[in-house]
Amino acid sequence: MNLVNFAYGLLLLLAAFVFQTTLTGINRKVVARLQRRRGPKFYQQFIDIFKALSKGSTTHGWVFDFGVIMALGGIMATAIFIPFGPLKAVPGMDNIFIIAYVLAVGMLGMAMSASGSGNPWASIGVSRALTNMLAYDIPFMMVVFGLIFAFDSSSLSGLAAIQREGGLLGWNVLRFPLGGIVAMISLQGMLGKKPFDSFIAPAEIASGPMVEYGGRHLGMLFLLHEYSTFIEVSLIVHLFFGGGATVLEFMVKYAVIYTFLNLVSNVLPRFKIDQAVTFFYKVPLAMAVVQTFLIIFLGMGVA
């Protein structure tokens, strides 16, 4: 760790921000076309974020501010760990468990700040978000557990490199199709897209955790959202789609997966939170356990 690492980290953060925010903008346009609208400009998301940052804001006490800073800081730190294709800011730190747990810092910060506003809608949203997390994370972690056992590595770039050795058929999504499906469903939950978006339901609980945010707080939450999307989609790209030998390959895979999930999201209604839990524990968890069982006891797909 030296200054060069930090400089790389900063560059990586910038690149991730520009990439993901542009992609979000393009996806807004794609969704608009799906609904037969013209849709906003592709750089609309940038305008939204900068506008929110430029506005005045209100605060409900120091924990309200501190939580937002902690959330964005935690998520940015996690984004630094993520390899951007072959590029890594800090070598040797892309351990999947580290990423999964550092990600939680951001979640906790945001939850803390939201509850610190004193608004019950925020607390309800947080309680739903955490329940949702308990639902989607366990199937995902089970599949990841199987992968780690299969390849004796918990490093993202290491797992990606192993997949690339086998060419297209080496991708984990093809080697372990059950696990791939589980991961995609879990990713839908992680991104908070439909049908698992009951925690930010705007009409029922006034956008949940975000209810009290405005101005720079809201702008930072938008940044946070872009980064967490980047982290979560990157995880899947690295774990199941062979990562990227070049930056371009990584970006293409990333964009395809993200757009696909967005399209799926736009034709689905919304689960209630207990329905989401039941669904995740009935279908994806069962699939994940079967997949892990196949890997560990039968060695299926491990080659």
């Binding site: 608009a32 609208r37 849709g39 609309q44 430029s54 506005k55 209100t58 405005g214």
Partner: protein, 183 residues
């Protein structure tokens, strides 16, 4: 419009105004029948998102308070409360002739006749009720106004707060009331 020292914007304010003009998040205060005109404006026929506009869930997140329809004494209190919860810079759009001059029920004991008496309205959309074309046109105007820095209602409200407050108190007696559910 006269240009004095106060109206000269700094460069960063110009940039900020560009962003503010092209990303308009609205809080719809759907008090009256006018709200029915918003869905067609939002959906594929007129598609307001292409101008960077969209509805928001709470006043904290919103830039524009869109008041669609009649305001009674009771709702006006809530509207003022919502307006004060919004973050600067904020804009108010009065929608329909009812906010403009009281519309057909101008002589009712319960309805407001003039919104700009209580809140700094940046833009009125006349009509009973205005069609989506009128709405889109007016938002186009609003975007231009914000970009030029002419939509300064929120500053006017800050500077003339006493005047607004006096008007509010004259018509409403109290803005922050305690109603029966909180006795």
């Amino acid at each position: 419009m006269t240009t004095n020292a106060k109206d000269v914007r700094k460069t960063w304010e110009k940039i900020a105004d560009y962003f503010r003009a092209h990303s308009i998040w609205m809080k719809w205060y759907c008090t009256g029948c006018g709200a029915i005109e918003m869905p067609p404006t939002m959906t594929s026929r007129f598609d307001m998102e292409r101008l960077g506009m969209g509805p928001m869930a709470t006043p904290r997140q919103a830039d524009v308070l869109l008041i669609t329809g009649y305001l009674s004494a009771k709702t006006l209190r809530r509207v003022i409360y919502s307006y004060e919860q919004m973050q600067d810079p904020k804009y108010v759009v009065g929608f329909g002739s009812c906010t403009l001059n009281g519309g057909i029920y101008f002589d009712s004991y319960a309805t407001m006749t003039r919104l700009d008496h209580y809140l700094p309205v940046d833009l009125y959309i006349a009509g009973c009720m205005p069609r989506p074309e009128a709405i889109m046109n007016s938002f186009d105007t609003l975007i231009k106004m914000i970009e030029k820095g002419e939509a300064k209602g929120w500053k006017h409200y800050q500077e003339n707060h006493e005047w607004y407050r006096r008007n509010q108190l004259h018509s409403l007696k109290e803005v922050y009331v305690k109603d029966e559910f909180h006795e």
